[in-house]
Amino acid sequence: MNEEEFDRIVLEYQGVIWKVCRTFFRDEEDIKDLFQDILLNLWKGRLSFKGISKLSTWIYRISLNQAIDKSRKNRLKTTELTVSVSDREADIQNTQNTNYDIEALYMGIAQLNPIEKGIIFLYLEQKTNIEIADVIGISPNNVSVKLVRIKEKLKVHYEKITRKNG
């Protein structure tokens, strides 16, 4: 993959990369940092891309690996975010319905384990269980079991906020 090809791929897939960043972080600085780290890892790994897996799978893998790594390292920061997220729960009732739902969904995702975040992200990106299994590295059956639990967690969280503000 030469430099021009790399630039074109980043241009085409930057939307996906931004979405990964926003799934894992809510702070703008963290999002930008993660975006840059992902691009750096894509650049480093461009020579190892042999085209055996799909280009999108390669990008998802590198992006999620970097996001999980940063999320782990920012653990302290994430804890602070969780606290501030709980504080914000009471404030979002005045926002419009769509924004309210979006905030509630992101707050729910913020409570998940980094691997669970990766799974739900791929699910919301409408990937099949086989594709999710390929990116995450677990069996498709395990993906469906995890998805049931993750969606349950999100629903419980959403209902908790709704009850609080209802």
Partner: protein, 239 residues
Amino acid sequence: MNDWEIQNIWNNANSNAENVRFSLNEIKQFRKSYSNKTTILAHRLIVYDTGYKILIIAAYFCLLFLTGISWLNVGLSAALIGLLLFLVSKNYSLNSQLKRIDESGDVFGVLKLKYDFLSRFYREYIVTQSITHPLFVLAGFQFYQFFKYSEGRLKMLLTDPVTYIFLVLAFIIPFYAQRLTYAKELHDFEEILDIGFNEESDEIKIMRLKRKKKARLIIYIIVILIGLSGLLVILDTLV
């Protein structure tokens, strides 16, 4: 809240995400700025530590010529230079292991590789890195003696208990400081790998057992090295 609603919220949240955030020119500029920045922190740490060890090797060579050739001086310097060269070679293999981690692998596989690296090789690195500090302190003591008395008084240095107190402290302080960070990182990995992924737990248990086995081996090596140093001093006293 059903599956359809979750999907709908997600689509609304990301309705603008596919829009271009950076132009092609901006991406080109961005790439050029990080093209040379391809080394990761762990790699840099290993490189700096290798440089530090090479510097101490050079210091022991200088001391050998400055303080004169005696049985004890040559024996100790040769042993320490040999040990440092061994540690440099360990750093080289550590770096090779680090390069084996392919970030484009599946998420769980990459996490396991990182955990394995941390639990087996990085632990070793903390020990080899911490051993370097007492060797630096010992060289410092020897230089101090040489500049103060214009001659090497290695025997006096090795029979003084204060020397050993400083050597032990020089090892223990950095070792425990690094170990705290290391233990936290390891715990984080275990938590991520463990939660909800019971099907993999046997593999993680094997990794943990291997880690403990390696830790015991490192302790044996340290005990043997301390024993050999003591033997060297006793032999010199007898001769």
